[in-house]
Amino acid sequence: MTRTRRTVALSVSALAVALGATACGGGSAADAGGSPVKGGTLTILDSADYDHLDPQRTYYTQPDSTDELLVRTLTTWDETGARPKLVGDLATSTGTPSKDDTTWTFHLRPGIKWQDGSDVTAQDVKYGIERGFSGDINGGPPYAAQWLVGGGSYKGPYGGKQLASIQTPDQSTIVFHLSRPVADFNEATAMTNWSAVPKAHDTGSTYDTHVWSDGPYMIQSYTHNKELVLVRNKYWKQSTDPVREQNVDEFDVKFGQDQSAIDQQIKSDGPAAQTATMQYPIAGSDLNSIANDPTLKSRYYKIPAPGINYLAINQNTVKNLKVRQAIEYAIDKATVRGAFGGAAYGEYASTMLSPGIGGYKKFNLYSTDPAGDLTKAKALMRQAGNPKPTLSLAVEETPTQEHFADAVKTSLARIGIDVNIVPIQTANYFSTVDNLKNQYDLTWGDWIADWPNASTVLPTLFDGRLIAKNPQANQDLSYLNDPKVNAMIDKAAKTTDLTRRNAIYGDMDEQIMKDAAVVPLMYMDFSELAGSKVGGIIPDPILAEPSLVHVYVKH
């Protein structure tokens, strides 16, 4: 759910994106037909191994999706309906907040068992969350440390200390004390790091390969970079689980094949590939041909991600609002989208919040034509006194992004702005642009929300007061520090009423666009393909993955 992995996956495999190809996106085909069958093995073909499977360490959508089979979280998303619905998972309900949203209480369902038949207790949940504070258990999201009282200085349970702000009055009750109001705390708790780990089976930094299961499947074997085999957990009971099913006998995750080879294999639907699916998105070079192939329609999944592909405009260096607004009008998003793979990549964006995210408000302050509005752009430049600035543009050093950079350069040349392209090695891209020492006038970025709420997008990307706090991990690539936006962030955080809070976020999005802090480019979609004998896949728009929890194999 962090942005880097998706980007890496795309850039590495999208070696030869067809330029300028436009086509209608094939609609996603949620396979509703047919009823679940038990048995069989589902193969998952992944181009790379997971960085972590340890629930407290995952932050990428592929292992997160797999973890849904292994570990249960306090809350989770029921995705069978038109829109994802938050439900209790380990917990009986979606939690009970105190009036000011600073204390959250969850009660555990009875009868949930570990893979050895023992009960899952509130203490296991507390221990699981606590271990994520250890320096050894790194990689996961930062929310627990940010919100829980004393979380900033707690260093995990391995030294023998516990975190007092997580209380377990009995075996089935867990209470969180937060240092500030968090109205959507129960949406955060659907992330895997809010899950239980039994202390007796914690193997510390090697837990990735030893994840102890309380879900429908458990690890049979896990060889890094090679294969992960999941088999049924016989202590899991359908009656205790509101979302998961236990249809196939085995999941066989095979790592390391080239993404194009995976695409081809599943596309041609040979005997081995008929029961296979993928977790990394289809390579950019294959995207158009697969998306537009009518024979693949029933097996092709276009999954909208709660994410945005954008171009940040540095407020510190591009100080003139008119110039920034001119840039908003001048960028030719049609060519830009072509660079990223065309229509199948996603819809043109005019807001930072994407349509699936709580708080999304539909508006467009700038050009209605995706190719841009040159007349308005030129007029704004004239009002700004026709400066002829040279702006630096940071992009990843990949063919895709270099095409993108060219599109931006061409767009802005039309209004007298010269663009100096700075390609940065993919692996170091975000650690470079996130560092305050490296400021660019224009910076490419993408962002996928951790859960579908504006609270995981706008405050993180545009709270100017955070810039100085995380000098090496600054997420505010626009360097926006607008008191109006900051005030709205604080106001939203204190607002417990969901509707009112979402309205504030919608206005916040509009204010950011008025500031011309960022050019939203595309709302991201991810495209995946499954074999013809795979049934029960539904799009998981939270993770932008094909959901595995209802999957079955036809025979």
């Binding site: 999201p141 930094s205 390391g256 194009s260 081809q264 040979g270 692996a427 090496q472």
Partner: protein, 330 residues
């Protein structure tokens, strides 16, 4: 001879030491920060420091190198918080990402490269020598032009292209073979063979061209030598002249290149082939480690590959000494 070997091996060890020092310091000179990568987005400075400590990155580069160097001979223990991980000598470190000793991972991935590299090398060497010799003997005639043309074609092909094409044809379209990949020979020899058939074919197609051309030109050069005329003047049949006197002399430069190629192939240079066919070898490990700023693995794979290239050099020199009696190893 023995002293020569000892000297060469000592020199090799020195080269490896220099390579590890360079890799180590280049890594720290780069902008990538493994702690930052592990820390994720919105990383607070306190958390960053914590992770840096956990990865042992809070000490000076020199101290870290010394720890690494010591670990090579004495082994190391990792982790002071959760679980102790012992990394026995020769310890190449423990991956930042998987917390597995690097050597374990290397040895796990190595058989794949060994099978891939040696299998392909055996075929392209023998076939290359054969085709090259044939082309040289039939110089200027149809056979030669065909061989040279095919070689040129092969050289201009990219592994990426050949590999995907073969996969598409044999696995996807005609379904003659199961999906390519690596199965240990000890586990299932038939699957081992079937899975490696296409990767071998890919490497052979690309390398065969080189070896055909190399053999051909080397052979043509030898054909002009006086001793070839002597061999004919002795009354030797043409075949013996070419295969015994000719090949014996022409093989020397081929062996040199071959040694290097095999060394780097089994050291992980077949990374594209590995990637196309989903074989988890040293090459992919190296690429992943760079992407993840996983210093111990970067260092380990670099040293591992370098070891093979350096050893291949020594072996080539030894073989050279056997093949060419004029070379004295001293």
């Amino acid at each position: 001879m023995f002293r020569y070997l000892v000297r060469r091996l000592l020199a090799a060890a020195l080269i490896l030491l220099v390579i590890s020092v360079i890799t180590f310091f280049v890594f720290f000179a780069l902008p990538s920060d493994p702690a930052l990568l592990a820390c994720g987005k919105t990383c607070s400075p306190a958390r960053l420091a914590e992770i840096r400590h956990s990865l042992g990155l809070d000490r000076s580069t020199v101290v870290q190198f010394w720890e690494f160097f010591k670990g090579l001979f004495a082994g190391r223990d990792y982790g002071d918080q959760s679980v102790r991980i012992h990394c026995g000598a020769p310890c190449l470190g423990v991956s930042f990402q998987t917390d597995t000793p690097v050597l374990t991972t290397l040895l796990q991935n190595f058989p794949a490269d060994l099978s891939l590299g040696l299998g392909a090398a055996a075929v392209f060497l023998v076939a290359g020598l054969g085709l090259g010799t044939l082309a040289a003997v039939r110089r200027g005639r149809a056979t030669d032009k065909l061989a040279v043309g095919a070689a040129l074609f092969g050289v201009s092909l990219q592994i990426y292209f050949v590999g995907l094409l073969l996969l598409y044809l044999f696995v996807d379209k005609w379904q003659l073979l199961p999906a390519a990949g690596y199965t240990p020979i000890t586990q299932d020899p038939v699957a081992w063979f079937q899975g490696l058939l296409l990767p071998w074919a890919t490497l052979v197609i690309v390398y065969l061209a080189l070896y055909t051309r190399l053999t051909r030109s080397s052979m043509l050069e030898v054909f002009g030598e006086d001793y070839m005329r002597t061999a004919r003047a002795k009354g030797l049949p043409a075949g013996r002249v070419v295969l015994k006197h000719g090949l014996r002399a022409a093989i020397t430069p081929v062996v040199t290149i071959f040694g290097m190629d095999v060394g780097s192939l089994i050291g992980g240079s077949a990374v594209i082939t590995e990637s196309v066919f989903g074989i988890n070898g040293i090459g992919k490990l190296a690429v992943n480690s760079v992407q993840n700023s996983d210093l111990p693995v970067i260092l380990g794979t670099t040293l591992f590959a370098a070891t093979f290239v350096v050893l291949a050099n020594v072996v080539v020199d030894l073989v050279y000494g056997l093949v060419d009696p004029r070379v004295r190893l001293a």
